[in-house]
């Protein structure tokens, strides 16, 4: 067995120099992969000890996502001159993130779900507390009604009733369960959500139903509300459970296929799946709680941003800025903490499970520009998507997009888009832009400049909004940019937000995949604990935390293993009578009333910071206890920067190739650099463009970029 005894840990982390014997012995030189299945592309990063990262991209295959995974793996094997099995045999770990779940929620494609619920309450998930104005103004009533995942005819009641204190008001009528299951299965249901009132206080009835399901219909996927998310509040709990039931069969099927395919291709290492809370988990745990993958896609980019900044020593308050084809995912990291939320919506569904707090804004390369009825230029949120895509793709798209603007301004090389895999048509872009500009009495280039500015304004405003919501000053943050379009817009965003420093990691075109290489296995859990501070029984609280820890350890396969784990205990707290909670760090399990008093003090302070006032005269109450167990592996470490350790000093590089780019309506000769000709310590002066795999970094006039420890540091003026 391994030294640490952890079943999911690398036997020999590749970048820990002491553990590596020699590069000549392939067996002791394991590789790590990160695989990011996005809507348009499937990205692969190959990390080999002491060698440069390798990036590969393959078009995604939405109907059968595993196909693209095997395609990109084959591409990597071929590039390394290895057979697929020789390649995969050297891989110890694959960390895998996927937008499969997110896409299923947004465009459909999940399972046929049935629901078993308390009689008299079967419309909770359709009436959904009356939420209508989620993404629309209250003054807009011309929107289609919400279509529930489980239509009413598949939401079946059972006689039972539990009260808020867990007392059974009415026992479960078991014959109702059999009848409901018979009806659901006869309708071809693949998955069942079990959702009863007050099950957070007493899960017995839900468990009984689940047992009947498992015994009588072993093929059914089952999601039980008291297991998926044992929180108070039936709408939020039921909705999350239904989402889990909807995603379960899809995720399970996909992961089964992936695991089998990897195995037949010779893979003997561990596959780890990225969860919405930026931890990784085994495939089996991911299948059991599929809602945990609801935001698997964008969860890794903030981690990449954090690791990049740590590597550079650039502080720990960051804006992770991942701008792709259709959207910008932005995450504000304060003091090294990647924020998480339980207030999330994905598509039209309320997901109350813990998600990385990433805001998705409809601003990406494919975002469409238009003139609204007030005569103002507007960019997004509508997108030209991958098909037809921007006008310059030449696939029939006639409307101007951000990518068309970037191209016309000279920021993108038409011959070298996606590493030359695709040629862009400047004339088509100009035609689309001129059509839009006619309404504004601007020519194509002026319009392109206005589109560039408008999308930057939209994005920077949204970023500023995130900061003000937290009560922090955005000017104290470092922008870490990535994604296909991010590095082209980062400097402009930085200027608008008055930021000093912009960091663009190498391989920032694959920011998510980069982040996945630095994520730990772990589990976050929650238990309802509704109690006034003065009524807390310390032993009872300890029992709840210990029970969560035990079940998390067992889920992580750490039973009986002396593993190095990080524990984060927190509590949702509020003033008695309030309806919303503030999450407060608890530290060790509280064993004294003095510790409880400290927690109360922290709560007052947090409340004051968030809401500008506290209410020290009111009793304080607990609502939920939370625990995150994270396994400390050397997976979570800095990227292999050692290979590029700089000779001392900074060298100013001069460009040898040039192109005309337009800045502030002026054409300017701009230097061009290929990323592989740059080394740590190199400094370039704007205007310049650095061509990275799958993206370009724009260094505007008056800016400089320095390559330091695998990142470009872009600043106004000299460094």
């Amino acid at each position: 067995m391994t030294r640490t005894g952890l079943p999911q840990l690398p036997t020999s982390p590749p970048w820990q120099r002491t553990a590596v014997v020699s590069g000549d012995n392939p067996a002791s030189d394991p590789w790590f992969l990160s695989l990011d299945v996005g809507g348009t592309f499937t990205d692969l990063l190959v990390m080999r000890e002491g060698d440069e990262l390798l990036a590969f991209k393959s078009p995604s295959t939405p109907n059968s996502p595993a196909v693209a995974v095997f395609n990109v793996l084959a591409k990597a094997a071929a590039a390394l001159n290895l057979s697929e099995s020789d390649f995969l045999r050297r891989v110890h770990y694959i960390v895998h993130g996927t937008t499969l779940a997110t896409n299923a929620l947004i465009v459909g494609g999940g399972a046929t779900v049935g629901m078993i619920t308390t009689a008299g309450f079967r419309d909770v998930v359709e009436a959904r507390r009356g939420y209508k104005n989620i993404r629309t103004s209250m003054y807009n009533i011309f929107i289609p009604p919400y279509e529930p995942i489980v239509p009413r005819f598949r939401r079946l009641p059972v006689q039972e009733r539990v009260g808020p204190d867990g007392v059974v008001w009415q026992p479960l009528q078991e014959s109702d369960v059999g009848r409901a299951l018979e009806k659901l299965t006869s309708q071809g249901v693949q998955s069942v959500a079990v959702c009863l009132l007050h099950s957070y206080a007493n899960p017995r009835h839900e468990q009984m139903i689940a047992e009947i399901c498992r015994e009588e219909y072993p093929g059914l996927y089952i999601a039980v509300s008291s297991t998926v998310l044992p929180i108070w509040g039936e709408y939020e709990r039921f909705s999350t459970t239904v989402v889990s039931a909807y995603l379960g069969p899809t995720i399970s099927g996909y992961l089964d296929l992936l695991q089998a395919g990897l195995q037949t291709r010779g893979f003997e290492g561990k596959l780890l799946i990225l969860q919405s809370d930026a931890l990784v988990q085994s495939p089996s745990a991911s299948k059991a709680r599929a809602v945990a993958l609801a935001r698997s896609g964008p969860a890794a980019a903030p981690v990449a941003a954090l690791r990049a900044a740590e590597t550079l020593g650039e502080g720990s308050s960051l804006i992770a800025f991942d701008m792709g084809g259709t959207s910008l995912d932005v995450c504000l990291i304060e003091n090294g903490n990647i924020p998480q939320t339980t207030d999330g919506w994905i598509g039209d569904e309320r997901v109350a499970a813990r998600l990385i707090d990433v805001k998705s804004i409809g601003a990406g390369g494919g975002s469409l520009a238009s003139i609204d009825m007030l005569g103002l230029l507007k960019v997004g949120p509508q997108s030209a998507g991958a098909d037809p895509g921007p006008a310059c793709y030449g696939r029939g798209g006639a409307r101007a997009t951000v990518t068309d603007a970037d191209l016309l301004l000279g920021y993108i090389d038409p011959a070298n888009f996606l590493g030359g895999e695709m040629r862009l048509d400047v004339d088509l872009a100009a035609r689309a832009m001129a059509g839009l500009g006619a309404q504004l009495k601007l020519d194509a280039i002026q319009t392109a400049a206005a589109v560039y500015e408008t999308v930057n304004a939209t994005m920077s405003d949204e970023v500023a909004l995130l900061a003000s919501r937290r009560g922090v000053d955005i000017r104290d943050f470092v922008l870490v940019a990535g994604g296909g379009a991010g590095p082209l817009h980062a400097a402009a965003i930085g200027t608008r937000l008055d930021l000093e420093t912009i960091v663009i990691p190498r391989f920032s075109g694959l920011l998510s995949a980069l982040g996945m290489l630095a994520i730990n296995p772990g589990v976050s859990s929650v238990r309802a604990y509704i109690k006034r501070m003065t009524d807390v029984d310390l032993q009872e609280m300890e029992r709840v935390y210990s029970e969560m820890e035990r079940s998390a350890r067992s889920e992580l396969g750490l039973d009986g293993v002396d593993a190095d784990v990080l524990l984060r205990r927190s509590a949702d707290m509020r003033y008695e009578g309030q309806y919303h909670e503030v999450e407060v760090d608890v530290g060790d399990i509280p064993r004294t009333t003095a510790h409880l008093a400290e927690i109360a003090e922290q709560f007052h302070e947090r409340h004051g910071a968030l809401y500008r006032f506290d209410l020290r005269f009111r009793p304080v109450q607990f609502l939920h206890l939370r625990l995150t167990v994270e396994v400390k592996t050397r997976l979570r470490t800095r990227l292999p920067v050692e290979a590029f350790d700089p000779p001392s000093g900074i060298r100013t590089r001069r460009a040898t190739r040039f192109r005309q780019c337009n800045f502030d309506n002026r054409w300017t000769v701009t230097g061009l650099y290929a990323s592989d000709e740059l080394r740590t310590g190199d400094l370039i002066e704007g205007p310049a463009i650095v061509e990275e795999p799958n993206t370009s970094i724009l260094v505007p006039p008056g800016f400089t970029a320095k390559l330091a420890r695998e990142c470009y540091v872009v600043r106004r003026g000299t460094p």
């Binding site: 009436a127 003054y139 289609p144 509040g233 919303h580």
Partner: protein, 599 residues
């Protein structure tokens, strides 16, 4: 500047020193500040209505009370907020200072829809000059009326509806005016609760102040001022262009509430004539019923708010994001006093957010649905709430339980069925409903049923959202139940273009084997073990039910389970085989043809 429509303004990417990008950014930031103030109150407040239902509104006005942004909230709270600001400006001329906060809840002095809606106003100074007003308003848990709850249906006059605060300075240059506050706390039930919520609201105005100042610091006052002026102008011109696209003419709309709470069972009616002529639109409420003795009167400002809210639904989708002075400038409201739509002191107006507030929106929607049929919209499920008050058996504490669970969803609009489950029309679905688990934890009540009611959707080519069946049991002792916060037992929301109107709401108290009808606009008394059973209507329909896609009707019966097989044939004229669930297209066509000829 006004000629040539909205596009003419944007004849260059730069207007004076202000570029369009900065203009849009400033405008969006101002709207966002309002939303953030509201989120702060929603997250830190303690009352059910604030923190669960989001009965909170926040807006920004210029120094002279021009409406800058009222993007999210409850229409009667804040669309007419400029009148409140102008009142404070005139009352306190010369003595408004940085760090002041004013509180007002008097419907006739400082203008509130009804006394429980407390508005907190903060003047925002930049470099010593008054530039903006922030206002946050919310429905307080108690306001010291003759009876707990906000909708007491039989008051003597407006004074019986609560302590009336005529815009007083409660914070003076940052100092809380404790003398005033003590007087206020002493005159309401649940003073500690209201105190907490007041602090949450005051904190939000402070937050708004910080954010607005930061915006001005970044762009400079001149550009911010220019951006506001330009946005208002663009909005006005876009609204006029929208009006130009409507059919010229005069259109009538009317809507009644069941009674005024004093004289029972005599409906009270709001009437509006909407006249459209080219780019001009006027809303005339002159023919509404006279001011009533009971609690169903609306002040002039309430009517203004509700009328504007109703009108905005019919303008373009982008104007839905531009509720500001420009929109108001595009419209004329004619509303003489002495009517239920413009009551005079001391007429009570406790019911105004619902009765006749909802009726004002409905009347406007009914009229405008004729002027622009392609944006026709039906009435929503009529609000049918109750305020239950009593003492919790566990700790003897007094509680007020504002019921917000039973009424139906939205009306249909041209092109779409009604949204399910939405909060009532007077809130434009900004109100969010409570979880049953929350109600059962807080109040001595057990809920037995809360689900859609079959055949409760107003029928139409597009049908309304469903009504509810709601049944609850009193686990506490003797309690009061006021049914002032509702209507719709004998009066109905409109259908449009041949769609059906809403149907009757009903409420029964079950005591042992006894069943007692509990009518709206009254106070009833409940005992331990009593059950309340409510059956409510959904929203109205748009277009003839005979034109509804037969496949949609099939789904209504077998998938959505909202329409019975009998109603499918009787109301929609769709023949479905009960056993196979298949639509008989031929038979359907025949039935529909016969019905359409009126045979």
């Amino acid at each position: 500047m006004t000629a040539g429509g909205p596009l003419a303004i944007a004849d260059s990417a730069r207007v004076g020193t202000l570029d369009v990008v900065s203009e849009a950014t400033i405008w969006n930031t101002l709207q966002t500040i309002c939303r953030e103030m509201r989120a702060l109150i929603h997250h830190s407040g303690q009352s059910f209505l604030i923190a669960q239902s989001n009965d909170v509104s926040c807006g920004l006005w210029t120094a002279d009370g021009t409406t800058v942004a009222v993007p999210a909230g409850i229409p009667p709270h804040f669309i007419a907020g400029k009148y409140s600001v102008q009142y404070i400006l005139s009352e306190y001329a010369g003595s408004i200072r940085e760090g002041d906060v004013f509180l007002s809840n008097d419907p006739y002095r400082g203008y509130t829809c009804h006394a429980p809606d407390w508005g907190f106003f903060r003047p925002i100074f930049v470099d010593g000059t008054l530039r903006f007003w922030a206002m946050c308003r919310t429905h307080m848990e108690d306001t010291g009326a003759a009876v707990p709850g906000g909708y007491f249906s039989d008051p003597y006059d407006v004074h019986a509806e609560g302590l009336l605060i005529p815009a007083v300075r409660i914070i003076s240059e940052g100092q809380e005016q404790l003398d005033v506050m003590k007087l206020i706390w002493n005159n309401i039930r649940l003073p500690e609760n209201v105190r907490i919520d007041s602090y949450a609201v005051i904190a939000a105005t402070q937050f708004g102040d910080e954010r607005v100042r930061r915006l001005v610091a970044k762009y400079g006052w001149n550009r911010v001022e220019a951006a506001i002026a330009s946005t208002i102008e663009r909005t006005r011109e876009a609204a006029r262009a929208s009006i130009l696209a409507m059919r010229d003419g005069t259109y009538l709309g009317e809507s009644s509430t069941d009674d005024d709470g004093v004289v029972h069972d005599v409906p009270v009616t709001v009437r509006v004539s909407v006249t459209i002529s080219g780019r001009d639109l006027s809303l005339d409420f002159s023919r509404s019923d006279p001011q009533q003795r009971g609690y169903v009167n609306a002040t002039e400002q309430t009517t203004y708010s509700m009328a504007l809210a109703g009108l905005t639904l019919f303008l373009g989708p982008e104007l839905a994001d531009h509720q500001n002075e420009g929109l108001m400038q595009a419209v004329t409201v004619i509303n003489p006093s002495g009517r239920v739509t413009h009551s005079e002191y001391p007429a009570p107006c406790g019911g105004a957010p619902i009765n006749v507030g909802h009726n004002i929106i409905e009347a406007v929607m009914m009229a405008l649905s004729q002027a622009c049929p392609s944006r026709a919209a039906a009435g929503w499920g009529r609000r049918y709430g109750q305020y239950i008050f009593g003492h919790r058996p566990t700790d003897g504490k007094f509680f007020v339980y504002p019921g917000y669970e039973a009424e139906g969803g939205a009306g249909a609009v041209y092109g779409y069925d009604g949204y399910q489950g939405t909060g009532s029309i007077g809130t434009l679905a900004e109100i969010v409903r409570p979880n049953t688990e929350d109600i059962e934890t807080r109040y001595p009540w057990r809920i037995w049923r809360r689900e859609f009611r079959l055949d409760s959707c107003g029928a139409g080519r597009w049908r309304g959202g469903a009504g509810f069946v709601w049944e609850a049991e009193n686990l506490g002792g003797h309690s009061g139940m006021n049914t002032g916060a509702g209507q719709g037992e004998t009066t109905f929301g409109h259908g449009a273009l041949g769609g059906h109107p809403t149907s009757p709401n009903s409420c029964v108290v079950i005591r042992g084997s006894e069943r007692m009808i509990a009518k709206v606009h009254r106070t009833h008394f409940l005992e331990h073990g009593d059950r309340i059973l409510k059956e409510t209507s959904g929203g109205g329909g748009v277009g003839s039910p005979l034109e509804r896609d037969s496949e949609e009707v099939r789904k209504d019966v077998f998938v959505r389970e909202l329409v019975s097989l009998a109603a499918a044939i009787d109301v929609y004229g769709v023949v479905i085989d009960q056993r196979t669930g298949v639509v008989d297209l031929k038979a359907t066509e025949a039935v529909r043809r016969t019905r359409a000829r009126g045979i």
